[in-house]
Each structure stands twice: as structure tokens, then as C-alpha cells.
């Protein structure tokens, strides 16, 4: 049900773009107005989100420690999984953000049917799928920079060269295009196949996956089947960037579908779980050093609380204390 709803919405979006440009001729709307709106929403929404996180104080330092603490000098501490200083934290965060360290720990736990034996198996599939997805997405993003500047950025050229290393097809087939589609398909399939993951999945989990599948598929089609007018696309891209957009009716309608789905993704981003991209940097269980007993952490909103003082305590128990010879303040 959740799958279907999301699927229908994405199909509807595809049709909307086709109808919009083919029947309505709304090239400017789909080629310029909506992308601007989406980028504004993205920047505004994400800034708002990050600022609201950053403004929320961190009253307590509660890192999740995943390795040996720094204590006695003859015990080797685990700098990256249990950092005690800023450098260690940087290392831990780098591993987390760049290599998905925590996900790498993933294992599969099962109770052997009918027995009481718990068995553990390594499970790196999710980690691999996630890594493949995010990195191919990143490469594809950088590759697209060629559409936004006169001189293609050198990083783009470099990645493009590597990506099309095998020189298959005309135009060259980029490996990441297919890695991306494979990874998104995997992420989708595991949501459907695993009963647990299916049970926890919301429409909001399927929707971005369908969007990404749509974006990837239309992208591949545009490059290899319909051979879209790359020069026209570049004009549009540079026009957008210089605030003098030109949305050409000559571009294939599938290009407008592609662009519209990207537009929706960008606009949807700050209001959805996709903000995890920014949130991971601010997660207090990961980005703080485990040096609590060495360096006092200050809670900005600390307030006095009602305590039971020693005087109140002794008042109640004084006689009993004296009787058994426990020293008291007031005889």
C-alpha cells in the first residue's frame, strides 16, 4: 500500500511534466521557475533545519563509546572508535561520514528456528549498497557540473575519465550510472523483501527511492537512447546560473521529466528524512569526545533542583545514628 501510493505519486509527477511541456508548452515553468523555487526551498529549508539543530544546546556529553577508553597509560585506547580529543573526533566523524563506519559493523542476528540458539552472521550488504548509492550519486552530481560552466571543471573531467574508463558505447557508458540504478534498486528491493524493513517503511521511504529511480532511468535514456541535445541542456544550465534562463522547446520532453523529478527531489529534501545528510555531522553520540571525567561539560540551561540535604537527613536519623556510634554534625 505504502509502496503503491509512492509509486503512483511519482508516475503522476512524470505525467505532469510530460503534459506540462507537451500540451501546455510550459517550458519556462518546468525549465526555470520550478527549479528556482526548488533551489530556494532547498537552501531556505536546509538552512532553517541546520540552524534549528545547531541552536538547540547540547546539555550533556553523551558519546556512544565503541572502543577502549583512555585511562591508565599502559592500556591502549581506541582513538577512532572512542576518541578522547578533537583529533580523534575528527577521525571518527570522517570514518562515519565518508565510509559509514557504524553501518559497517552491521550483522545479522537470528534465532535458529525452534531452538534457543542465537546465531550471528556478518551483513555488509546494506553497507555496500549505501556506499555504492551515495558515491555514485556524488560522482553523477559532479559530472553534471559540466552543464553549468563554460569550462568544464577539472574534477568533473577527471571523474568523467575514470567513470567512462572502459570506453564502451557512443557516447561512452558511465559505470556510475548503472551502479546508481543497481544500488537504488537494491535499497528498494530490501524494503520490499525483508518483512521487518517492509513493516517499518513509510510512504516517505519509498517516495525518494522512486524519484531517484525515475531520475536515473530518464538520465540514462536521455544519454544513450534519445541522445538529448547536450548543447541545449548546457545553455539552460548556464542560463539558470546567470539568472537569464532559456528553456528551449527543442529539448526532448523526457529531459523536462528528468529535470522536474530532480526539482521535486531538491524541494522535498529539507522536509524529509533526506536531511540525514546534514544531521549526521551534528549527532552528539558521534561528534563529541569521551573525555567527560577529564574536562567538565557545561549545560547552558542548568538550573537548581530540590535536593535532600545532609542536614535534613541527619535531622531524621540522628538518634539512630548516635545510638550505633555513627558520627553526627549536631549531637
Amino acid at each position: 500500500m505504502n509502496v503503491l501510493v509512492s509509486f503512483i505519486i511519482v508516475i503522476f509527477l512524470v505525467l505532469l511534466a510530460i503534459v506540462g511541456v507537451q500540451l501546455g508548452g510550459l517550458y519556462i515553468l518546468f525549465g526555470a521557475v520550478l527549479p528556482y523555487v526548488a533551489i530556494a526551498l532547498f537552501l531556505g529549508g536546509l538552512t532553517y533545519r541546520v540552524v534549528s539543530w545547531a541552536r538547540a544546546p547540547v546539555p550533556f556529553r553523551i558519546p556512544t563509546t565503541c572502543g577502549q577508553q583512555k585511562s591508565l597509560p599502559w592500556i591502549k585506547s581506541s582513538r577512532l572508535d572512542n576518541p578522547h580529543d578533537g583529533v580523534g573526533v575528527l577521525g571518527r566523524m570522517a570514518l562515519e561520514v565518508l565510509l559509514f563506519r557504524s553501518l559497517f559493523r552491521n550483522s545479522r542476528t537470528e534465532l535458529k528456528e525452534g531452538s534457543n540458539k542465537v546465531v550471528f552472521g556478518p551483513d555488509k550488504w546494506l553497507w555496500m549498497g549505501a556506499l555504492l548509492f551515495h558515491y555514485s550519486f556524488l560522482v553523477i552530481f559532479v559530472r553534471h557540473m559540466r552543464f553549468f560552466s563554460e569550462h568544464v571543471p577539472s574534477l568533473t573531467l577527471l571523474l568523467q575519465g575514470l567513470d567512462g574508463f572502459f570506453q564502451v558505447g557512443v557516447p561512452v557508458v558511465y559505470m556510475t550510472s548503472f551502479m546508481f540504478l543497481v544500488a537504488v534498486t537494491y535499497l528498494f528491493a530490501r524494503r520490499i523483501i525483508s518483512p521487518m524493513v517492509r513493516y517499518i517503511s513509510l510512504p516517505a521511504d519509498y517516495f525518494p527511492l522512486f524519484l531517484l529511480l525515475g531520475i536515473g532511468t530518464t538520465g540514462v535514456l536521455l544519454r544513450h537512447i534519445f541522445k538529448t541535445d547536450v548543447v541545449g541542456v548546457k545553455e539552460l544550465g548556464m542560463g539558470l546560473l546567470s539568472f537569464s534562463p532559456v528553456a528551449s522547446p527543442d529539448l526532448h520532453y523526457l529531459f523536462y521529466v528528468h529535470l522536474f523529478l530532480v526539482t521535486v527531489l531538491i524541494a522535498y529534501f529539507p522536509f524529509s528524512k533526506l536531511v540525514h545528510m546534514a544531521g549526521v555531522f551534528l549527532s552528539p553520540t558521534r561528534n563529541l569526545a569521551n573525555n567527560n571525567r577529564e574536562r567538565r561539560h557545561v549545560n547552558p540551561w542548568d538550573y537548581p533542583v530540590k535536593v535532600h540535604t545532609y542536614q535534613e537527613y541527619e535531622e531524621e536519623f540522628r538518634d539512630k545514628m548516635i545510638k550505633v556510634g555513627i558520627p553526627v554534625e549536631k549531637e
Binding site: R49, S52, W53, A56, V58, P59, F60, T65, C66, G67, Q68, Q69, S71, L72, K76, D81, N82, E96, S102, L103, L111, G114, N116, V118, L126, P195, M196, V197, I200, P203, A204, F271, H276, G279, V280, L282, P284, T285, R286, N291, N292, R293, E294, R296, V298, N299, W301, D302, V305, K306, V307, H308, Y310, Y313, E316, F317, K320, M321, I326, P327
Partner: protein, 545 residues
């Protein structure tokens, strides 16, 4: 034979209990109401304890009642409470926003592994709260409703919160695996704080809190009772070693204040650990004192609210100041060390009236505790052993085959892994690790932490204890392990049940019990008994240890 009740271990047939259906129900989780079956929930807090502590809405009620007698403006209270906490805790805000429901946490929770209830997957436990957050605090949730995973706050939602936030032991195992470090303990703590605003809590937590506030410890032991207890231990020690120990109590000017969980005073096998501390202090000639006012290291405030942590924890520094000690030493306890490590200094510090802890024996400066000024007794004793200050005869523990259970909080809030292993390996010669997915940062909870270790919750304790119990049985079968060492008072109480059920024949012990049995004391008579007053040399027809 008398009929067994749901609060007894024997009520649960093991073969039946492991018939776990991991397939989720047909109805979506938002449409599946909670079922309060006996054995899976805990009695509510008694009104007199709530009154004593000044907590909201004291009354007689039961989770099986239709009407929970919530305050008339309960919705408003919850929303206001959520708003306040979203503004005060970055964790809460980020953990509400960032989850992608990848499911990596799902099979990491001991309650889910042992029970199969999908709402015990950490991700769904958090969604119980997130769904309300989305509807009332986010634009997308307001506009898109269920599409965005938002739902209305109803009394049924509150009932669900109560059931599942008291089916989480705040062990933080899931947080090790989460790619964003989402910490379910933090979510559960927020959930319980919100529930407390409506007067919803459990007696197994609230009674100890009220006791601790008044008498200084969870068990409600009064000063003369504590003195009695320690003297009783001293009698046993004298019987075992021939050495008379006179435990100093509320002694002004002592160098060190010693604080340990009160579980060590009352229940076996914690009591043996407590005797172990006393013997170690005596042997090393430490100038220390017990306190009757700060007679609790544990802090059930952690299972109530942040404010309550602070209210109870304040006594430790206050007492250290009053007695004029130089620094504080803490006993073997799990959640106590989470509070000491991550909350105490922030809440009740700075402890500028204390000195940076230095071992009076070895001169070692505990720089890792230079601000909080509180040292873990295992750190302390590891340093003493390393420097050859204790005479040990590990062969006295040769009849034991030992494994070590990393307690959740020292593991995942400190990274306390090598110190206990070093001490164990110094005092016994047969040590075997449990499988790597079940130790160190991946350690499994005993199933009874965070205030869930009571008998009326027996089914959930056995289920939650399954992964741990299973790992114990694995080493029992493979290496003949017969002793499970741990550094947590709740463990010492609850793992006894877990082992009796899942790995019968394995006994639970604190590290200081092992240490004191191996320790050769100056002037001791020849030992014939261990701390449990059992003959040291195994009798041919002796029991199964």
C-alpha cells in the same frame, strides 16, 4: 505442585518461549493496539512515592484499566513537554528528524531478538514518539499526515509509550550500529520524562528513587542498618580470613569517599563483591570512608528524568565536601557509571573542592578523572595489581572457569573493556570470552536494566535475557564456563535469573569477589572457605560448582 504465576521463572516453558514469530502482524504498526498481558509490564508507581518526590498526578491506577486517570489537559502537557525538550536537547531534535528507517538497528535489540514484537525494534520504538512529533511539530507532517509518518496523539498512543518505553533497558546497543548515532536510550529517556509529566511511571523505579532521596540509597537502608550490614560482612570476613575489619562510616577527613550501588549491601551475589571491596581496602591500607547519606552509587533517576538524576546524584559531591575527602572512588556498577561519566560533573560539578585523584599506593595520577574526581574501583585496583601492590594466588580460583559480561553502560558510555579483563586475568587462570558479537561495545543487556528488573516483568526479562543467556551457554558448553563475572549490581541480580533459565549451572559474580578469594592477605589464616562460605577445595560429593 502449586500453580506457577507469570512473575515466576518456572511459569515459562523454554520451548514455548523460543517459538518466536518474527513476521510482523498484518495490521500496520499504527493500527496495532498494545496488549498488556501479565509478565510483560510493571506495576505503576505508588501514589505515596510520587507525593514524596513532588511528582505529577499521584493516584492508584493500573495499565489494565481502561481509564488511566490522566490529567484533563494531558495533551497540552505532552505537547508543551515535547516543545520544551526539543528546545533543550539537540539529541532529541536530531534523532526525531534524521532516521531513514534503514533497519540496521532492528535485530540489535535483545527484546526484539527474544520476543519478535516489531515495536521492540529500536526504529519503531522511536517512531512511536516521532509519529507524534511529525504531526505536531513539522510542516511536512502537518501537510502530508500518514504519508510522512505522522499520527494523532491519543490515549492509546500514551498507553503504547508506557508499554514500550518500559520495555527498553536504555542499553544503547542499537546506537552502536546506527549510521547517525541515534541513541534509543535518549529517546526512551525523553519518552519516560513525558510520561512522568502525566504521572505514568513504574514502582520498581519510583520506589527506589523515593527511598534514595530520603535514606540515601535505593533500598531504603537507614544509617544504623547500613552499619549493621557492613559489620555482618566483617563477621563473615573474619570467619573466612581470621582478620577483623572495622569499616569506617561517615569518617571526616578520610582521603577517599567510597560509593557503591546499594544492591551490594543486600542481595547475593552482590554482597560477596561488597566483602571483596572491604578486604581489598583493608589489605591495601586505604584511608577511606563509607557514607550513609551518599550510600547509593546507582541512580534510578536516570530511569525517571534528567532532573531526578541531578536530585539524587547531588548527594555524592555534597557528602564528599562535608566529609572533606580528597577524591571519590566508585564501586562496580553499570548505570551508576553512566551517570558518573556522562552527567555528574555537568549536573553537580565543578568539584573544585576535591583534588585530582592520586593512588596513595602507587602514586599514579588518574588524569582521565581529573575533573570529575571519581575513579572506578576496577581502574584503581588494576593499577595496584600492575604495580605489584597485591599478593594474589589465582590458583585459588582454579575450580572456576570464568567469562566476562561487559555491562552496557561501562561499555558504551565509557569504553571500559581492558581494565576488568586485566583484573580477571590476574586473579583467575581460566578465562574465556563469549562470542565477539556479544561482548565489548556489542555486549548484550541482561534484560533487566533501566528499572525493568522486577519479577512481574518476568516474561520480558527472560526474553530480553535470551541473547546474553545464549552466549553464556555457548561458553558453558564449549569451555565448561561456570562463572559469569560482571561489574554491575543490576547484572548481579538479574543475570542470576537469566543464567538459571538459559544456562543453568553458571553462577554470577562480581570481580571483587574473585579478587578477594585470590588475594593473600597479611596475617590471614589458611583459607578453607570462599566468600560464599563454601569449602575452597571441592568435596567429592560437593555441589555442581
Amino acid at each position: 505442585m502449586a500453580e506457577r504465576k507469570p512473575d515466576e521463572m518456572g511459569y515459562y516453558d523454554q520451548e514455548e518461549l523460543v517459538q518466536i514469530d518474527y513476521d510482523p502482524p498484518r495490521s500496520g504498526w499504527m493500527d496495532t493496539p498494545v496488549d498488556f498481558r501479565p509478565g510483560s509490564w510493571i506495576y505503576p508507581g505508588k501514589p505515596r512515592h510520587l507525593e514524596y518526590l513532588g511528582l505529577a498526578n499521584p493516584r492508584q491506577w493500573s495499565p489494565t484499566d481502561d481509564d488511566w486517570q490522566l490529567p484533563p489537559n494531558w495533551k497540552e502537557i505532552i505537547f508543551e513537554g515535547m516543545r520544551e525538550r526539543l528546545d533543550k536537547y539537540r539529541t532529541f531534535k536530531i534523532f526525531m528528524d534524521c532516521c531513514v528507517r534503514c533497519g540496521a538497528c532492528a535485530d540489535k535489540c535483545h527484546f526484539f531478538i527474544g520476543g519478535g514484537d516489531p515495536k521492540n525494534m529500536p526504529v519503531l520504538r522511536a517512531e512511536l514518539l516521532r509519529s507524534v512529533y511529525r504531526r505536531d511539530f513539522t510542516t511536512a507532517g502537518k501537510l502530508l499526515g500518514r504519508f510522512a509518518g505522522a499520527r494523532e496523539l491519543t490515549e492509546d498512543v500514551i498507553k503504547e509509550w508506557f508499554y514500550y518505553f518500559f520495555q527498553c533497558t536504555e542499553c544503547r546497543r542499537c546506537s552502536v550500529f546506527c549510521p547517525y548515532g541515534i541513541d534509543t536510550a535518549e529517546i526512551t529517556m525523553m519518552g519516560r520524562e513525558l510520561l512522568n509529566l502525566l504521572g505514568l511511571n513504574v514502582n520498581w523505579v519510583i520506589e527506589p528513587v523515593a527511598n534514595c532521596f530520603r535514606t540515601g540509597n535505593h533500598l531504603g537502608i537507614q544509617p544504623h542498618g547500613l552499619k549493621d550490614t557492613l559489620e555482618f560482612f566483617a563477621d563473615d570476613i573474619e570467619e573466612i580470613t581470621g582478620i577483623r575489619i572495622d569499616p569506617p562510616i561517615n569518617k571526616k577527613g578520610a582521603e577517599i569517599l567510597f560509593v557503591t550501588p546499594s544492591g551490594d549491601f543486600l542481595a547475593d551475589p552482590g554482597t560477596f563483591t561488597c566483602m571483596g571491596y572491604m578486604m581489598m581496602f583493608h589489605e591495601l591500607g586505604i584511608d577511606y570512608t563509607w557514607s550513609t547519606y551518599a550510600s547509593e552509587g546507582g541512580n534510578f533517576g536516570l530511569f525517571t528524568s534528567h532532573e531526578m538524576i541531578k536530585r539524587l546524584n547531588a548527594k555524592i559531591y555534597a557528602e564528599a565536601k562535608r566529609l572533606g575527602v580528597k577524591w571519590i572512588l566508585g564501586g562496580e556498577c553499570g548505570h551508576m557509571w553512566r551517570v558518573v561519566q556522562q552527567y555528574m560533573d555537568t549536573m553537580n560539578g565543578p568539584a573544585d573542592f576535591l583534588e585530582v585523584p592520586v593512588s596513595p599506593l602507587t602514586g599514579t595520577v588518574f588524569e582521565n578523572a581529573s575533573s570529575t574526581k571519581m575513579v572506578h574501583i576496577i581502574e584503581f585496583v588494576a593499577d595496584a595489581i600492575r604495580n605489584g601492590k597485591l599478593k594474589l594466588d589465582p590458583s585459588r580460583n582454579d575450580h572456576l572457569s570464568v567469562t566476562f559480561h561487559d555491562s552496557c553502560n561501562p561499555a558504551r558510555a565509557m569504553g571500559f573493556f581492558e581494565e576488568p579483563r586485566y583484573v580477571i586475568n590476574s586473579v583467575c587462570r581460566n578465562f574465556h570470552e563469549m562470542p565477539e558479537n556479544t561482548i565489548r561495545e556489542q555486549t548484550f543487556c541482561c534484560g533487566g536494566g533501566a528499572g525493568l528488573g522486577t519479577d512481574e516483568n518476568m516474561e520480558m526479562r527472560l526474553r530480553g535475557g535470551l541473547p546474553r543467556g545464549n552466549a553464556v551457554r555457548f561458553v558453558q558448553e564449549k569451555y565448561g564456563v561456570n562463572q559469569l563475572a560482571c561489574i554491575c549490581a543490576i547484572d548481579r541480580a538479574t543475570l542470576t535469573t537469566v543464567c538459571d533459565y538459559w544456562a543453568p549451572g553458571v553462577q554470577v559474580t562480581g570481580i571483587h569477589e574473585l579478587l578477594a578469594n585470590a588475594m593473600v592477605m597479611k596475617g590471614e589464616t589458611e583459607r578453607t572457605l570462599n566468600l560464599r562460605l563454601e569449602p575452597l577445595k571441592e568435596e567429592p560429593e560437593g555441589d555442581d560448582v
